[in-house]
Every structure is written in C-alpha cells, then in structure tokens.
Symmetry: C2
Subunit: 268 residues, 2 copies
C-alpha cells in the first residue's frame, strides 16, 4: 500500500524498522499509540511489530508502565559497522587532545542522506552530558561538519544533496543552497567551515572534511556551547582541526566505508 508494487519488498521488515526508528533519543519510552502516531501505522499493526521485536529481544516491554523501550541489544546490530571501521581509532588520541584544548567536543561523521552520522567522538573531561553520541544524526546544512562535508563533496554528490534538500524543503531550498555555497567559499578560503549558532543557539563549531582512500568522505568537527567555545576562538580551532584532518587525509585509517554515491553518475 505505502510502497510501490515491488514484489521483492518485504513490508513487514520495513515497517518493523520504521517502528524501531520511531524511538527518539529524548523519548525512548513509547506507548503503542505514540508509536502508531509517529509511524502512521495502525495501532494493531504496531502491536504486532512490537510483539515481534519484544520476542526477539530488541525491545523491552516494561510491565509496570506498560511502555516500550529499545533494548541495548540493538547496539549489537551496529557492531559490525563499528568493527569494520575499527581503524578510525587511530585518530582518537589527536581528537581527544583537541577536545581537551578546546574544552569542547570533537567528532567524526559521515554522510547519510541529509544528515551526518557520528561514528566517533571524544570530549573534554569536564563536559558533563554528551548530547552527541555515536550514532546520532545532525543535519548537513546547519552544522559545521555538514557544511564542510558539502564543500568537499564534489560536484556530483553536491547535486545529489541539493536535490534531496529541494525535495524535502522546496520553500527553503534557495536559501539553504546559498548558505551551503557560502560555506563552500569559506572552506576554500580558510580550510574549514564555521557554524555559529546555526545548528542550535549558543553552540559554536568548526568543521573540516577528510577524504579517505576508498572514495569515502568523512568530516570532523570541534565545537560546544558558546560559553566554552567562544566565537573568537573558532579561527584557532579551525586551523587546528584542519591540521588534525591533514594527518589522516587519503589514508585507509577508518576502515571499510561505503563510497560516496554517484561518483560521476547523476542520481536515479
């Protein structure tokens, strides 16, 4: 119904994963109704899917509150990915160093759709909470990491990104495109991108992309709340982050990553 007439498309699986993704970081205890609303699926269907997930151990049903939450077991699903990128750890000491120096957070991410997914992070030891953990998504167009990625992405991937943005947000498109182009210029001139409150108020950051050997692209950022990362320090941090990135440029230090889409071919 929702999907096209694709004989080979297993709806149950797609819906089940949709239910899993419906759990949000800030609300990880959900009821059937909420999940139903979130996914747009009928409550009965959600009940069936959740039932399955509980049986498989991916979801935990709290008998008291009658709510559901993702079980840590889902982390195992991601583990092969983590393991395939095990070499990324060689960057950790330098990331940690910069995190301490900046008193903020240093992360590494790759693109997925219109987001960057964080695959490694380190933080200054005085940071209490860590809002951006491994696996979190941040948007491309408002963040320093995303903008740096865009700047380094090359013509074809840029087209792909822009096309997706246009589909997703036709009204804001022009403005976003302009902003991304500005970021590109900034990146060319300075070697890094800045984001001053553009992602969230009072959060400043700088971003630098790294090109990996196997046609994959990733990006670092370094940032934090403006109380820690002052606007006037961004230039210093940007230069240091670019220096950091230079150490890892074009080396097979991350591990196996999917290459960028459409290197040369336009999106379907």
């Amino acid at each position: 119904m929702t999907e096209s007439k694709d004989r080979a498309f297993v709806n149950g699986l797609a819906r089940g994963l949709a239910v899993m993704s419906a759990f949000k970081p800030d609300r990880n205890r959900m009821s059937l109704g909420e999940l139903s609303k979130e996914t747009g699926l009928p409550k009965t269907t959600v009940a069936r899917l959740i039932h399955t997930l509980v049986k498989l151990g991916y979801v935990y049903a709290d008998p008291d509150s009658g709510r559901f939450q993702l079980h840590p077991r889902v982390l195992t699903l991601g583990y092969p990915v983590m393991a395939s990128m095990d070499k990324r750890h060689v960057a950790l000491p330098m990331m940690q160093e910069l995190a301490e120096y900046s008193r903020g957070t240093v992360s590494l991410g790759i693109r997925d759709g219109l987001s960057m997914i964080l695959i490694e992070r380190s933080r200054d030891s005085t940071v209490r909470a860590l809002p951006l953990d491994i696996g979190s998504r941040i948007p491309i167009h408002t963040t320093s990491m995303g903008r740096a990625y865009f700047a380094a992405a090359g013509e074809f991937e840029q087209k792909d990104i822009l096309a997706q943005i246009e589909t997703f947000d036709p009204k804001g498109f022009k403005k976003i495109e302009k902003s991304l182009r500005e970021g590109e210029r900034e990146y060319r001139e300075k070697g890094y991108c800045t984001a001053i409150g553009s992602w969230e108020n009072d959060v400043n950051a700088v971003g630098v992309a790294v090109e990996l050997s196997n046609d994959a692209l990733a990006a670092f950022n370094c940032g934090g709340p403006s109380t820690r990362i002052a606007e006037e320090n961004l230039d210093d941090l940007g230069r240091r982050l670019a220096e950091l990135a230079r150490h890892f440029q074009t080396a097979d230090w991350v591990g196996q990553l999917p290459p960028r889409p459409y290197k040369g071919v336009s999106p379907p």
Copy 2:
C-alpha cells in the same frame, strides 16, 4: 515455519533482523549465498530481505564486488539507546584514567542473554586497534566482566543464566557452573573477578559489577593482552577497578536501562 503458530509474530521482520545480525564483525561484506548459509534461509528469501534493506538504506550493495555490507545508518537505530544511557559518561574520565594506568582497556557492559554487551569503553592511547567496541558481545562465563556480573546477579538471575547455559550447552554445563561458582567465591573474597586467558589466550582482565538504582546491573572490566596486563598486576588493577565501581554504585548515573529479568519470579 520456524516460529510457533503466533498470529502476531511478523516473520518478515524477524528474518530481516536475522539477516542483519548475520553480518559478523570480521566479515562485514557478505554475499547472498553466505547470508543464506548463515541464516539458514533460502537464497531467494534472503534476496528479498536484502533488497528491502538496501532500499531502506540499512545495507549497502557494492556494485563492483556484488557484495553487501551494513551501512553506518544502522548505528542510528542504536542511538536512542545510547542517548537514554547518556549519564554513563560521568564514569568516562575515571575509566580513561584507569585505562592509561593499566595500559589496557576499561569497558562497561550489561547483560543480554548469555553475553555482556559493551556500552562504553576507553582505552590507553597507545593501544592501536580496539577489538572491543561499543555494541560488541562477550560471553558471560569466560570473561571477568561476565563472571563479576554473575557473582553480583542474585539468586534469581543466576538461575536464569544457568538455565540458559544448560539449554545451550548441556554437556559443558556442569563445568561452567562450577567455574561460575568459583568466580562468585572469588568475587566475594576479593571484590573482583579475574580472567586469565579464559576468554582468549594471552588476554587478562579483572571485572567488577555495579548495581544501579533502577534494578539494573552492569559491570566494568579492565584488561588487555598479557604483554600489557601482566598476571601479577591483576590484583592491583582489581582493587582499583573495585574502587572505581564504588564511586558509581547505586546511583542513577547510567540512565534508563531495562531492569534485570525476574527479580523474584522464576523464568516462564
């Protein structure tokens, strides 16, 4: 077919997740045939499931090699879990410190079935590769973390664990039980469990459990290759790890975790 006559059990979802779990850390590029062999599902079925996963972006199909690999996007599935346990970071600085001191790795894990799943880790900066990343599973009965967990688990959960072991490995059961009971005694006497080459040759470690406020239990370990973590240092490290754990005992510092199963009730 595989599952019982459960009208509410969505087979497609279960099989899809089985396919995802079929990707192993060391072999994350799989062919249809391999996946079929691994999961025991007919090739056609795997093809359909993989097709779905590719469309959803959770699996990447490499057009050159014709192989499939998990896409980093799967990390997003685990993110809400990570986020719900965000408070665990308060332990990181101390973990890091001990990792540096011991020149090994310090991790935190919780139980899932007969494994411990690692939810946080830190390592000495001179460690090159990190075999045990977030999301990885290690067995309960051969590891210091698992044995410490068992020792602290309490009667009912211990029974559950033992029952599962007996089901899984009826022959080895007696021996494993005895070994776990020994671990329990060690834990009571010394305050930590040791594992000397029992998990993998030439890997030594100590483990200590932490009881959390919401009926959840977790465990730390500290270990590494015997070239780094010598057997004669284990006592020192064990005491330090126990000291570390004491800082976090019975405090809501991890975040929302599922409580232990069957606190008082015998397994169904």
